[in-house]
Symmetry: C2
């Protein structure tokens, strides 16, 4: 696997998980992250500084960091008082670098040096884009943060999403896809984190044309408003609808159901365990890797090491 | 000079100059900095987070930093837009660390690690103190920032300054003074930067009792409202009034008058070149080091290398 190029596409916690697991192997890591984020601290910084969303590159930077623990911790630190309330320190860091150097890409490069990252983090586009969703009742929802946390009752499904303006793929992202040996899509928020990467002009085609092995890592939990009641098959179908039918060579599915008390903690946010029967995928042309990928304790997420092991086994 | 302990007392740009010059020599450097600052970005952060002033430790941290240039530059970066307008990034950095670790001293220690500082930066006190000044007309001025930039017409001299509450000397500062071989006081703002260090209980005594050689580096320019029309002798007399008569073993005086066009730039802020005739010090029991210490271009400040060379020659 030495000198193999692995590209991870996503943006949030899921990308963090994949990268922190893969980081332990001697592969060249590239994270391509969505630039559609516009919530919280990022929203204010986008509005006031007109910069690309710092919040989207942060998890990938931290995952790849080999800097002392304190600096990585600090990057995730959020102010809870005063006029800085709600601001994430990592976001301020990236904003200060962008203001100082006059370029988001240069800022990202310098942040990478300071955090001593092992690999690279590439914004899927360098243009300012906005995520728009149409719900099944025809209602239009503007902005990633409104797709992410539904303002309606949450029972309405998302019919379609697109970017406004569409934005062009970052040439560096295109090159990374071309040179990749393995591309990992997900896990992560389907509409607000993963798919926006593929909506910029040129990304879908570059992904399809890449000779890399392509893996989709299905989420373990649904997300209310985005993927309410989704089964594994619904996740895959949604991916294929936007990225192309039959694009994936491998599908990674978790089989381990978490104990009731862990699932119970998700009741408030109406998230459910993702069920999936391999029979649902009968006749499809990909390899299914079904295993226990569950983290032992805490949040119901993929265990970084188990996931990385399965991904590396693909080589 | 190897393994000699050099302590620099001050806080602002002057301390930055001394430290960046001395850093090139194999001495153990300690900066003791005033905790009375309360202006600008620091003011807001003190009010909102109740922390010690991050702005006072910043110049010393940057001077001692061996981290990549970008990080040091970033520490000095100031936001000029939006809700972060006026905030210095280094101050936000130290505030985030203080919030994260729950202690200013721990934050300072961690900031030192991240910036890979060569030496240590010690707050003169760990208590929250406030600088108070009495002008010659009896008027009381509250707060360092109001002493620093006079709100009155600036012709009134400062009669007396003190801290409210007085604050206790940081035991680490006391130890550093005790173990010092050389203590450098100044250059820097006399009332708003240097002297507040000596106003905390225990500092003056520790300084006097220290067996170190003690040097006073006289400012090159006066500061309107603080040291209006001061000559070298007035600087020294003011120092001795607060720290004790005859405490200094060496006085460093600049002899080189800057060209008119450089002085002209200071007319707006009513700062003047500090004149000094060695005869004024006749009969005093210290060695005078009179030389050209002037920086070649730009701000009228000490040249870090010339100053360091003179200081090191004292060993």
């Amino acid at each position: 696997m030495k000198n193999k190029n692995v590209v991870v596409i996503g943006g949030g916690t899921g990308t963090y998980t994949v990268l922190s697991g893969l980081k332990k192997y001697p592969v060249n890591l590239t994270a391509i992250v969505s630039m559609a984020d516009d919530g919280g601290s990022t929203k204010l910084l986008r509005e006031e500084f007109g910069i690309l969303p710092p919040g989207s590159v942060r998890p990938a930077l931290i995952a790849l960091s080999n800097a002392p623990q304190t600096l990585a911790e600090l990057f995730n630190f959020r102010f809870h008082r005063g006029s800085l309330n709600g601001h994430n320190f990592g976001n301020l860091f990236i904003t200060a670098l962008t203001e100082h150097f006059g370029s988001f890409e240069k800022a990202l490069e310098e942040a990478g040096k300071i955090l001593k990252i092992q690999g690279q983090v590439i914004p899927s586009t360098l243009q300012r884009v906005r995520l728009v969703a149409e719900l099944e009742n025809g209602k239009i929802v503007q902005g990633e943060t409104n797709v992410d946390v539904p303002k309606h009752d949450g029972t309405l499904r998302i019919k379609k999403i697109w970017l406004q303006p569409p934005g062009k793929a970052n040439p560096r992202a295109v090159r990374a896809l071309k040179e990749a040996h393995l591309i990992v899509v997900g896990p992560g928020d389907v509409f607000s984190s993963i798919l926006p990467n593929f909506l910029v002009q040129g990304m879908k085609g570059s992904f399809q044309r890449s000779k890399a092995k392509k893996v989709y890592v299905c989420n373990i939990m649904t997300k209310f408003g985005e993927t309410t009641h989704f089964r594994a098959e619904s996740f895959l179908n949604t991916m294929e609808k936007y990225i192309g039918e039959g694009v994936f060579d491998y599908i990674i599915l978790n089989t381990k159901k978490p104990p009731v008390e862990r699932v119970k903690k998700y009741e408030k946010e109406k998230a459910e365990f993702v069920e999936g029967n391999p029979k649902e995928f009968k006749g499809r042309d990909f390899t299914i890797i079904r295993k226990d990928f569950l983290r032992k304790t805490g949040f119901i997420r993929h265990d970084p090491d188990k996931l990385a092991k399965a991904l590396i086994s693909i080589f």
